[in-house]
Each structure stands twice: as C-alpha cells, then as structure tokens.
C-alpha cells in the first residue's frame, strides 16, 4: 500500500512516460531470457562444457582410463609437443594440403558449372545437373570412401581407364603411394563437396539480376568480363560460404581418410582428426590429443574468421 502511494507521489517528478518504458524494457528482457535460456543451456552442456574440459585435459598427462585424480598436471608441455613434434607438424600440414584439395576444385568447378547453366537455369538441363552434382552430398562419407578406395585400387577403374588411354605407366596403387595418396584422398573430398558448392553457387547465380549481364553485354563485356565483373562480385557471399564449409571439412576430416587410407602409407594421409582419435584411444595420451584438438580448433578459426569478417564488412 505504502509502496503504491510512494510510486504515485513520486510520479510527477520523473518524466511521465519513463516508468512505462522501463517496465516494457524489463518485460522484453525477461522474454528474451526465456526464449534464449533453453537453447543456451543446451549449447553450454554440449559445447562450452566439453570445450572447457578439453582445455583442462590438454593441461594434463592422463591415460583416460584411470581416475582423473590420478592424472598429473603437465602445463603447456602437450602444446609444446604438438608444435614441435615433426610427425604432428606434418599431420597439421597434411590438413592444410587437404584443405586446398577440398576447397579449390569444388569452388572453381562449381563456378564453371554455375556460369554454364545460368542461361538454362529454368530448363530441365539445369535441374538435372544440379541433382547429379548434389548426389555425392547425400551419400554417407563412409560409403563414398569405400567406393573410391575400390576405384583407386591397383585393379580399379582409375587404373583401367589409364591403361585404356595408353597411360599404362601411370597406373599405381594410388592410396598406397607416398606421393599420390594425399591428392587421391583430396580428390575424394573434392568430389563430395563439389555438389554442395555447385548447389550454393547455382542458387546464388540465379539471384543475380539478369539485366546486369545484359547491361554488361551492351557495355561491351565479353564472357570473361561478365564473369569477372558480374558473376564473381555477385557470388562473393556464396563463395565465402563454400570456402568456409570446405576448409572446416578438410581441417576436421576424419571419416573419408579413415575409410580410404586409415592415414597411411606411413603418416602421409594422417590428418589431425585421425591423430586425435588415435592418440586418445590407442595411445592413451588424452592430454596430448586434447592439445592437438585445441590447436586444430584455433587453426580452423584462424582460417574461417577472416573470411567471415571480410564478408560482413562488404555488406555495410
């Protein structure tokens, strides 16, 4: 009662609309918390907590079996090992080579396909092309890895084809070859991601105002100019998404490599994802595995954030 009286008495002093606005703002904030809350809890439980635990493990020397109280604190030594061990550095390097394979062919071919079917977009040809190119995307990666390892086999279709066109001397067991195993795996990833990139780029190119191409034609543009001055700028966002997704796929790859080569020969095709799994579950070096995982995460962010940042800046 007194409270109410106070409020009424105090009202003339304060600017009149103020209390209502504050109450509304407070209600809005409460609604926001209610809506975001559940999602945030799930995010915390499945992302932030595991991330924090990984960071914690990366500072330990622990076999992952005994009680964690039995683990010894190891400081940054795991990180020093990740950044100095030749094998681990090569493995990180493999990931970047794989990233080039996973990213460049799908984006370049995707752009070529998108440009080529732009004019036939509405036609059946465009739809068919899109469907065919998208198919690899819906095949489980494990199945794709197995199919490709058959094709790369000493008696597989790749070598059969090379023999057929007279390149007998080029035939080899591709996935067992020290030089060609990594590119061979890279091509599998490129094949898988080509569909996704083409899909994104074809959809993106369809959104570019067709009269821009016509204006360019009248301005004297030849096809290469149209590509450079209309298509590429118009697809900047889509290309950014493709590169982001493919780089993440490459740096965090596991299943394709595991099925196709299991990381061999030697460690020629071993990628961080595979090594983390191996260190943690085969070599029982949970601390080192966690440190590698954290380094991998930082590398992914270091590659992806600048791209995202550049795209965001462009929009303003």
């Amino acid at each position: 009662m007194t409270h109410l009286e106070n409020a009424t008495a105090g009202a003339p002093k304060a600017p009149a609309p103020r209390p209502a606005a504050t109450r509304r703002a407070r209600r809005r904030r409460r609604d926001a918390v209610m809506f975001i809350g559940p999602a945030f809890l799930i995010y915390a439980a499945f992302v932030i907590v595991p991330l924090g635990m990984s960071v914690y493990y990366s500072l330990l020397r622990w076999d992952g079996i005994g009680p964690i109280s039995g683990a010894t604190f190891y400081g940054l030594k795991n990180y020093i090992e990740v950044l100095t061990d030749d094998d681990l550095l090569q493995i990180i390097g493999n990931a970047f080579q794989l990233a080039a394979w996973f990213t460049i062919p799908p984006v370049v071919l995707g752009l070529a396909v998108a440009s080529a079917i732009r004019s036939q977009m509405a036609g059946r040809f465009g739809t068919a092309t899109r469907t065919i190119l998208f198919l690899p995307q819906v095949i489980p990666l494990v199945a794709a890895g197995i199919a490709w390892s058959w094709m790369y086999d000493r008696n597989g279709v790749v070598n059969q084809f090379l023999s057929l066109i007279g390149l007998e001397s080029w035939t080899r067991g591709w996935l067992g070859d020290f030089t060609y195993a990594l590119p061979a795996v890279g091509i599998i990833g490129a094949w898988v991601l080509l569909g996704l990139c083409t899909m994104l780029l074809v959809t993106g190119i369809a959104r570019i105002d067709g009269s821009l191409y016509e204006a360019a034609k009248l301005d004297g543009a030849r096809p290469r100019h149209e590509f450079r001055f209309v298509t590429l700028p118009g697809l900047k966002n889509e290309i950014g998404i493709c590169v982001t997704v493919t780089i993440i796929q490459a740096l965090s790859s596991f299943d394709i490599v595991y099925v196709a080569t299991a990381g061999g020969p030697g460690i020629e095709t071993t990628v961080p994802g595979l090594e983390i799994y191996r260190l943690a579950f085969a070599h029982r070096q949970v601390g080192l595995a966690s440190a590698l995982a954290i380094v991998l995460m930082i590398l992914v962010l270091a590659c992806v954030l600048p791209i995202q940042w550049a795209l965001r800046e462009r929009k303003q």
Binding site: A215, K217, L218, G220
Partner: protein, 358 residues
C-alpha cells in the same frame, strides 16, 4: 546518331509468336515511343533492336547496316533498363565508366567523359557512392549517364521511369526531353503510360499483341486514331465508344441512331465509306463533350472528380451505357443529377464494324 529500319521483324518463343511482323522506320535524331498494354511485346521489340534477343525472321538495320548477326556491343546502342541494372559493387564513377574501361579508353579520357556525363545529369556529388547508397531517381540518373558516356547511335529506354514516384517521374520526363534536344540522338523509349508517350514522342508506335496498331505523331494519334484500340488507349480519360447504326446517308451528311443515341446528323466521311444499315461505333473524347441544354446525350452522373482546372464526370446514359465527360473546373454539376451533353459534329470519330476508323 543513326536511323533505324525494321523489316517484317518477327520473334517467337517456342510456338508462341510474340512479335508478329513489325515494319518501322525511325529517322536519325527522332524520339520514338513504343506504347501498349503490358505484355504486348514492347520490351521484346526493344531487346531485339539491342540484340539481347535474336530475331526469328526479318531484318534490322541501324545506320544503314544490317545488324541481324551483330553482337549487342557492336550495334552502337545503349540501353537504360527498368531495373537500372547498375553494377552493385562499383561506384557511380566506375559504373558510368565501365563501358569505356572495357573499350580500353585511357583513364584520363575516361574520367573526362564520366565527368561530362555527370555534369549533364547533375550528379557530380554522387560519383563516389555505391548504387545502394542512392535513391531511385539518382540510380536512374546513373543508368542514363552510363548510356550517355558511350555516345551511342541509338538510345534505348525500357520503362525507365516506372519505378519512380509521380512527381519525380514528371521531372525526369522533362529532363529526358531536354536531354534529347541536347544530344540530338535517336532515342527509342518503351512505356505503357500513354501520357509519357504523348509528352515525349516525336513519333508514337502503338503496339498490341505484337502487332503495330498505328504509327504517328502524338496529336495525329489523338485526333485520328486508326482503330478502336488506339482510340481507347491514347488519351485520358478514355474515349467514349457508343455502338450505333447508320440509318441514312445523304450526300455530305450521315444520319446515325442507336440505343444510346438519339438521331444524330454528322458530316459523312469522304468517299462512299458509309452506307445505310452499317453497324458503327461512335467515338467521343470526354474533353469534346460540353454541357448543352439541348444536347443529344442525357447523362445521369454517378461519379464526380473535381481536379480544380477541370471536372471529370462519369455516369450512365438512359440505356445503361457508361459515359465520361470532362467539364470546366467550376462547372456547377452534382452527383445524381441528369445533365445534357453535346459536341461538335466534327469532333466525333466513326469506326466500322471491324473497329477500323472510317
């Protein structure tokens, strides 16, 4: 600058013929407007001239050169698109200078040409902005600037003003007319708006369903529409069209009557074009109708628009046929009133049963 000739130009998309044999002569320096309802093929015809679409048959000549198989960039035409089609990632300066850049014009010369275009269109302060930072009218200017800077033989405009608000549209219309005078080049302008056509054109081409209905100077089309379609399309408000019958032809006079028409005596057209018993349509411009105490038309008003300088009155005749008249601004007329209207016999237009002007 160049003249332009179209000879039996046809265009089909699959089975549907969209342009059905257009013959057209456009003189050097002429401002020609293609006008017609939406979907009649105006844009298609313009794009055929630009070379953005291939003609199915016929010939197009620009400046005496057959251009059927010439690429758009080599036709000497520049086009202003309805959507403006500005390159979104380029500044205004780069947009306007793009054609010159592709033509490998040296930078200094290019800058000068862009500056000149910007001066003509009064858009110098905009040169370093991106299209997204411009208003509709400013974008329109840039699009026109991009056309000017290439110094084309023929300018093509596809409904360039349709995305602007009414006031801006009127300003830009005046500017376009001024631009034509200044540049003295051949311009082809597409619109569905007959007011734009009337105000801008040296010559209007009225299209319907891919066929030319009439070609002529604006007043020629207004005064002597070749058929019912042109009569209804050109002029606002629309020409009133009343069905009737010729009851007698007597030398220089024809006597008409109809459900809506009391006995009317009009001057008979030259030649024996009318005979007793012919079905005709009488066309009367709303502006030609006057209040007359003994006028032949009895209008019961049901719509009144006072525009200040004139008053638009619409209503129905005793039979129910609709009629519109434009009276004096201060004309003392009320809703739900019956007024008598008359007209100068010479202002009436007659159309035969096939809709052609007599």
């Amino acid at each position: 600058m160049a003249d332009l000739k179209l000879r039996d130009v046809r265009k089909s998309y699959g089975q549907t013929e969209v342009i059905k044999g257009v013959d057209l002569d456009i003189l050097d320096g002429e401002f020609v407007v293609f006008v017609g309802p939406s979907g009649c093929g105006k844009s298609t015809l313009l794009r055929l001239i630009a070379g953005l679409e291939d003609i199915t048959s016929g010939d197009i000549e620009i400046g005496g050169r057959l251009v059927n198989d010439v690429e758009p960039r080599d036709r000497g035409v520049a086009m202003v698109f309805q959507s403006y089609a500005l390159y979104p990632h380029m500044t205004v300066r780069e947009n306007v200078g793009f054609g010159l850049r592709l033509a490998k014009v040296p930078k200094a010369q290019r800058e000068q040409a862009v500056g000149e275009a910007a001066r003509i269109l009064q858009m110098e302060p905009l040169l370093d902005r991106k299209p997204a930072q411009l208003s509709g009218g400013q974008r329109q200017r840039v699009a026109i600037g991009r056309a000017i800077v290439r110094d084309p033989d023929v300018f093509l405009f596809d409904e360039p003003l349709s995305n602007l608000d009414a006031a801006l549209r009127m300003d830009m219309r005046a500017e376009l007319a001024g631009l034509h005078q200044q540049l003295d080049s051949t311009m082809i302008y597409v619109t569905h708006d007959q007011v734009e056509a009337m105000t801008l054109a040296d010559k209007i081409v009225v299209l319907k369903d891919g066929e030319v209905q009439q070609i002529g100077a604006p007043m020629e089309l207004y005064e002597h529409p070749a058929n019912l379609f042109v009569a209804g399309f050109i002029g606002a408000p629309k020409m009133n069209l009343l069905p009737g019958k010729v009851t007698a032809v007597d030398g220089h006079e024809a006597v008409l009557s109809g459900a809506d028409l009391p006995r009317l005596v009009l001057p008979a057209p030259e030649g024996d074009k009318l005979a007793a018993g012919d079905e005709i349509t009488l066309g009367l411009r709303p502006h030609d109708l006057k209040r007359m105490p003994d006028g032949p038309l009895e209008l019961h008003t049901d719509l009144l628009e006072r525009l200040g300088h004139e008053t638009v009155v619409a209503g129905h005749l005793p039979t129910g046929a609709r009629l519109t008249a434009v009276l004096d601004g201060r004309s003392p007329v009320a809703l739900d009133e019956t007024i008598r209207l008359g007209f100068e016999p010479s202002s009436a237009r007659l159309f035969d049963a096939g809709g052609r002007a007599i």
